[in-house]
Amino acid sequence: MNQPKTPHNLSYRSVFSLVLKRDLTIALRHKDDIINPILFFIIVVTLFPLGIGPEAQTLSRIAPGIIWVAALLATLLSLDRLFKSDHSDGSLEQMLLSPQPIFILVLAKIVAHWIITGLPLILIAPLLAVLLHFNEQSYGALMLTLLLGTPVLSLLGAIGVALTVGIKKGGVLLSLLVLPLYIPVLIFATSAIDTAALGLPYSGQLAIIAALFFGSLTLAPFAVGAALKVSTN
């Protein structure tokens, strides 16, 4: 080893798929992580018609808000898992000490989180929308806003988790940190769905959500990397 072999450097793509595959494997073997947020989402949405009454008009008016608020809270509920277990068993340290760029590791973990929580929400949302007498014209808007909006929830939430992962009871702090960041997504998403129900174009609201998505996609991984370094200090 006098002449140390330079360890072969992985490409961004292989690092990304390595971490993504690992996180998905872990989630599939630990099914609670997948089932919990989706069950929460279903329960919250199905309780509303019971509480409010079955009048189609009232329900269809508040349906976008119900679905989006439930999706938002379900994501918040699942955020903790993003780094907490890796932090408590030491694998987060090992990731930070690997010769791979941190942002790519973080991005892979966030994408895995979205596949585990965001994607099932999107798939189940239209079924629950039927339950709420969702306006037929606005299904497209619902799917598009969820498709662009749930990744934003995962990306922004990851910053909050990374900042609070070192704290023993960071749950409350996490909600306080993250919820204000979620509010723009909620406002524009529900507004897009309402506009669609009136038969008007909603591309403006959609464009803003898309901007939030691309902005957080490019910046959040770096913020998360920096926050993790502070948290493990």
Partner: protein, 250 residues
Amino acid sequence: MYRNKKRELIPLSATNTDNVNVDSTPIESEQVNMPPPLLSATNLTCIREERLLFDQLTIAINAGDIVQVEGPNGSGKTSLLRILAGLSQPYEGEVLFNEHAIATCREEFHQHLLYLGHLPGVKGEMSAQENLAFNLALHGASDKSINTEATLAEVNLTGFEDSLASHLSAGQHRRISLARLYQSNARIWILDEPFTAIDKQGVHALEQLFKAHIAKGGCVVLTTHQDLLTFSEQQVKKITLDYTFDSYDE
């Protein structure tokens, strides 16, 4: 506020005083003809919970060194190791790898670093083999051809390759993380209590591994409360941190 006493590094034998420096003694003056140290730290100061753990600590670790950090519980051994690995930031001072500050050459430094903390970094949801394969791949120290089965056999985990780690014991978790040492090309090994939960034969095997590693030009920095039995006292350089309970005002 903080106790302003300089902690002293006590080199065990006179022959290696040039490697472990006391306080502000300049390294250069004693090492004119030596290659630059692999890993060095200058004027490290660490404060945890309003308590000064060490102050103005200067260390130089060369290729071929095995350094044992000693001290009672709470004296700052783990903090020192985490600072050397770049996981924690010192209150003052800096850590140099090949004479470059580690913050400026993160990826290069990490290619040459293997740090094992007191947490094993093993996922309970994955098998022993998957854990090892992931760790090796993540650290880029291997190509796909590495035989994880044979590596696990080195740490006596034959037969447990496919068991989920959550079904294994604490000692076996540690063995999974230690298995990386057998495939490591990293020159700097920083190990926090590597012998915890490891049986006698395991400790012996690890010491042989350390010997082979330093003979190849690597270095080992470790904390342990046990004596390294197969090393002579001259071989092991010691950094002794003392513990002070009081943090009195001046």
